[in-house]
């Protein structure tokens, strides 16, 4: 198994990063840290995807000198998927940050548990 993990080193690193991001997202109460965890998680997925497209000794999928031979270029699909993924993660990072800004302006703290408690307290006031 260790040999197989070493052979797939990119993917090994990617899934460890994914796990780290996942754990940060669950573990941290600070919203900014949660967002960082989220970004680590999605970036790890892109590394995973990108590693899947690479084939030893081939070039980036841009036709050069009119050569259209399958054996000349790497797999173009993961590149497209990563592109989509990046756009999606930019979007939801923006929204999460906007939510954080609003919550901070209102409650002056970034701790999600504290914020939930304060929000509950608002009803009573």
């Amino acid at each position: 198994m260790w040999q197989a993990l070493y052979d797939n080193l990119e993917q090994t690193v990617a899934v460890i990063l994914f796990g780290i991001g996942f754990t940060i997202l669950l573990l941290q109460r600070n919203l900014i840290r949660k967002i960082i965890g989220l970004n680590i998680m999605s970036t790890a997925t892109y590394l995973f995807l990108a590693s899947m497209g690479y084939i030893e000794g081939r070039k980036a999928p841009i036709v050069t000198d009119g050569v259209t031979d399958l054996a000349a270029y790497i797999n173009p699909i993961p590149a497209g998927l990563v592109l989509t993924g990046i756009v999606v993660s930019v979007s939801f990072t923006g929204i999460m940050l906007a939510l954080t800004v609003r919550l901070y302006r209102r409650y002056r703290t970034l701790d999600i548990d504290q914020i939930a408690l304060l929000a509950k307290g608002e009803d009573m006031a």
Partner: protein, 498 residues
């Protein structure tokens, strides 16, 4: 009828272009346009259903000039068309009945943005129903997540902000799992469209190579979609979101958006992996156990709520539990029963959220139960509608919920030993628990109002909203009385689904 095969694509396009056009309109026009779009989608879906009923087998629809393993595809079948018709009918009714009290929750300037979100949520639901491509489904899952978060935060108070943050965190976690699952699946099969994927998966199962990654892929994607549809142990984000969002948003979120995720999961099980493989990996048993515990725990939690909207929200958790129980049986009959429950719940739950809002607003916006005494007299239409939809969720005969439960019980009968017993006992207990809280609420709606509370002067529900509520109520009753043809469509649809 060759034009009719374009209708699923047209309905998606109408929503998408409609949302873009909405962005440059004034709020009043935007509102009208949104309702019109929902109506157009309803008509197009109905025609698609008519077209699909005449089909022998499901028909792929190329999005572009390139066929299956290369280009994106939609797929028209009876089941997709039936669900699209049901969901767009519920959405249309929800919009007609619910829009008039949106100004109470949303500032005038943001109503236009809200309309954009409704259109895009509808677009994403339609794509999830029709798409034949796993990655397209992922992209539109994200659109749906963001749009539904925005549906919650248009009402801007502390509660919705906190609820939306929780909602986003759980949903993005789930999105991450789904995306990782899809990338692994791509790595071991080399396809993204569902039919070639299905063939490649069958090859993997036969040869046994890459079987371990395949199991993990199934677990990842199932877990992701289960979190997004608020299956029981992952339901923590749901009640707050449903309870504090504007009522129309709650109706859309709980009634429609959750269903689209489950439909995608069924599609994944049937078309990509194959039901026999799912049964082989025991994922179905996990779903079964989660479903049963959700049915029971959701009801218990609903009983302990003191706020009517939170009670309705927790009852969603229990109703989603029924769907997962049906799915978890791992048989065709179980999945068919789950699909019918999806329709019955979509119709009843959105109605329940809207009528609850009417009842609360005639009681001075206080949601505690004793303020609601007599609300059924102060707003008769909402009272009757609430009663009927509550009856449906409890499972009283002549309503959709009764048939759904009957189907689930019938589907459970041929199963082996403990599972059969568990299905029947769980159904019985859960029905009892549902009856406890819903009947209690209905009774308190029709009790004499306490004299010492002063209620606001009653306002009249606009005619069109009342009419929409009544029509939707009739829909629930129709699901109970005319369930035969619908069940036949579902069963035939499942046959041509794989």
């Amino acid at each position: 009828m060759t034009l009719a095969r374009n209708f699923p694509f047209f309905s998606i396009l109408v929503c998408l272009v409609g949302s873009v056009v909405t962005s440059v309109l004034k709020p009043r026009a935007a509102k009208a346009l949104t309702i019109i779009i929902a109506g157009v989608v309803l008509v197009l879906s109905a025609f698609t259903l008519r077209y699909a009923l005449a089909l022998e087998s499901a028909e792929p629809f190329m999005m572009g000039h390139f066929p299956a393993p290369w280009g994106n595809e939609l797929r028209i079948g009876r089941l997709e068309a039936l669900m699209a018709t049901g969901i767009s009918a519920v959405l249309f009714i929800t919009l007609v009945a619910g829009f008039y009290h949106m100004p109470a929750f949303v500032s005038e300037k943001k109503l236009g943005l809200y309309c954009i979100m409704v259109d895009l949520a509808m677009c994403a639901i339609l794509v999830m129903l029709y798409t034949n491509d796993l990655f397209t489904a992922y992209v539109f899952i994200e659109i749906m997540t963001i749009a539904s978060c925005a549906l919650v935060i248009v009402r801007q108070n502390g509660h919705t902000l906190v609820a939306a943050t929780r909602y986003m965190i759980m949903n993005l976690l789930a999105s991450g799992l789904v995306l990782l699952g899809i990338s692994m699946l791509y790595g071991i099969t080399g396809h993204l469209l569902m039919e070639p994927l299905g063939r490649a998966v069958r090859h993997i199962v036969e040869t046994g190579q890459y079987m371990e990654p395949l199991t993990v892929v199934i677990a990842l994607i199932t877990a992701g979609l289960a979190i997004k549809s608020a299956m029981f142990p992952f339901h923590a984000w749901a009640p707050d979101t449903y309870a504090f969002a504007p009522p129309m948003s709650s109706a859309i979120l709980s009634g429609l958006i959750g269903k689209a995720y489950i439909f995608l999961l069924i599609k994944f099980f049937y078309r990509v992996i194959g039901l026999d493989v799912i049964v082989g990996t025991n994922v179905d048993s996990v779903l079964f156990v989660c479903g049963v515990s959700g049915m029971l725990m959701g009801s218990v939690l609903a009983i302990s709520q003191r706020d009517i909207r939170r009670m309705v929200a927790y009852s969603s958790v229990s109703q989603i539990g029924y769907i997962y129980m049906g799915l978890g049986m791992g048989t065709e009959a179980g999945v068919a029963a789950a699909l019918f429950q999806m329709l019955a719940h979509a119709a009843a739950k959105s109605l329940l959220f809207l009528s609850t809002n009417e009842l609360v607003s005639v009681s001075g916006d206080r949601k505690r139960f004793h303020y609601l005494h007599g609300a059924g007299y102060r707003n008769p239409v909402a009272g009757v509608v609430f009663t009927v939809s509550a009856m449906s969720l409890v499972g009283i005969p002549f309503t959709g919920g009764f048939i759904a439960k009957l189907n689930l019980a019938t589907a459970g009968m041929p199963m082996g030993g403990w599972m059969r017993a568990l299905v029947l006992i769980a159904l019985a207990i859960s029905t009892l628990l549902n009856a406890v809280y819903y009947l209690h609420t209905v009774v308190s709606l029709y009790r004499r109002a306490p004299a010492e509370i002063d209620y606001p002067p009653s306002h009249r529900v606009p005619r069109h909203a009342a009419a929409a509520l009544v029509i939707s109520m009739l829909l629930t009753v129709y699901l109970g009385l005319g369930s035969g043809p619908i069940m036949r469509v579902i069963e035939a649809g499942l046959k041509m689904f794989a």
